[in-house]
């Protein structure tokens, strides 16, 4: 009986960790998407300092979470995300409004997709 109780407890722990992971990832990507969108908006308005600050903050937050993301996300997704961030920063530094706006949209979309895949929903399960 002890074995069964342990197995049930383990299943409960895995489920709880999965839900917690989905929540953390949702929070993390949500925060970064907000900053990236702001960077794109500021670039369109010609506010390059604010755009740069928002993009750098977004990139910094993403990098800071490296130990966590490397445990729960496929490494190919992380590398692809890093490339998207470099591209966004490059366009921000070169003050190219159109390219910055589209790069920001790309980063947002990519983050949103990573988050969606990890959420326990019918679409992602099947």
């Amino acid at each position: 009986m002890k074995k069964e109780v342990f197995a049930a407890a383990l299943l409960a722990v895995i489920f709880a960790l999965s839900v917690a992971n989905a929540y953390c990832l949702d929070k993390l990507t949500g925060e970064i998407i907000e900053l990236v969108d702001e960077s794109g908006r500021m670039a369109t308005c010609g506010e390059w300092e604010k755009s740069q600050e928002a993009a750098e903050n977004a990139s910094r937050i993403w990098k800071e979470q490296d130990p966590y993301t490397h445990i729960v996300l496929r490494h190919s997704d992380i590398e692809s995300m890093n490339d998207d961030f470099y591209e966004l920063l490059e366009h921000v530094y070169s003050h190219d409004a159109g390219a910055t706006s589209s790069s920001a949209a790309l980063v947002s979309e990519h983050l949103s997709s990573i988050n969606q895949i990890e959420q326990i929903r019918i679409g992602s399960v099947f």
């Binding site: 074995k3 069964e4 299943l11 895995i14 839900v19 992971n21 490494h75 326990i120």
Partner: protein, 226 residues
């Protein structure tokens, strides 16, 4: 991580149901749950090992989920015979008292050739020597020969043999098998009397009790019961 967890449970249940539908002959000495775990675990563990870009957690979560499911379901099937029958099925009698039960053969999709193969693998060449052949839930065939054809038969030893019939289990780990009790033409009153005669106070204290055709009783109390 969460998706892996839910997917593992879905695939596990789907495979158990599939193997159950496929029938006993596909199993080969493993119960359906054991076979499912054996099939899945090696593949799940191999994926993160082969691809370093896949986090190890993508292997750990499904493997732990599978093991937990297996332990849980095995525990439940030990405790509840009805659930065990549902998941593992029940043994099929292919030969009963020397008569081939053709409906059971068809139900289990076993041809007469395959039955012969199984019998030959048990060094039985003459089907007429088989009294009972039972296809067990793990896909193996258990064969009971007529007493005269059993190894070291009483006939060979010059002793008159007596067919006591197959023993029927009436208490299994504290649970009374009411159907078997009825089959023997006995009732609860008789059971209580036999149990108390052997020093146990209730069926819950009995590990196993079986009765053969002549009324001989095999009895074992549970460890730790008074």
């Amino acid at each position: 991580m969460g998706v892996s967890f839910v997917r593992t449970i879905i695939v596990f249940l789907l495979l158990v149901v599939s193997l159950r539908i496929m029938g006993k002959r596909q199993l080969g000495e493993l119960e359906p749950i054991e076979l499912v775990v054996a099939i899945l675990i090696s593949n799940l563990a191999a994926q993160p090992l082969q691809d370093v870009g896949t986090p190890l957690i993508y292997g750990i979560v499904p493997v732990l989920t599978l093991l937990s499911c297996q332990v849980l379901i095995s525990g439940v099937t030990v405790k509840y015979s009805r659930i065990r029958r549902m998941i593992c099925g029940s043994p099929s009698i292919l030969i009963d008292n020397g008569k081939i039960i053709q409906s059971e053969m068809r139900r289990n999709r076993i041809s007469i050739d395959e039955l012969y193969v199984e019998l030959r693998s048990k060094e039985i060449t003459d089907i007429a020597t088989v009294k009972h052949a039972i296809l067990e839930t793990n896909g193996t065939l258990s064969v009971i020969l007529y007493p005269d054809f059993s190894p070291l038969t009483p006939r060979e030893m010059g002793i008159t043999s007596e067919d006591t019939g197959s023993p029927v289990c009436i208490i299994n780990d504290g649970r009374v098998m009411s159907d078997n009790l009825r089959l023997l033409g006995r009732d609860q009153k008789w059971l209580k009397k036999e149990i108390s005669k052997r020093g146990a106070s209730a069926p819950e204290d009995v590990y196993i009790m079986s009765v053969d055709g002549k009324g001989n009783i095999y009895f074992a109390v549970k460890d730790g019961s008074k």
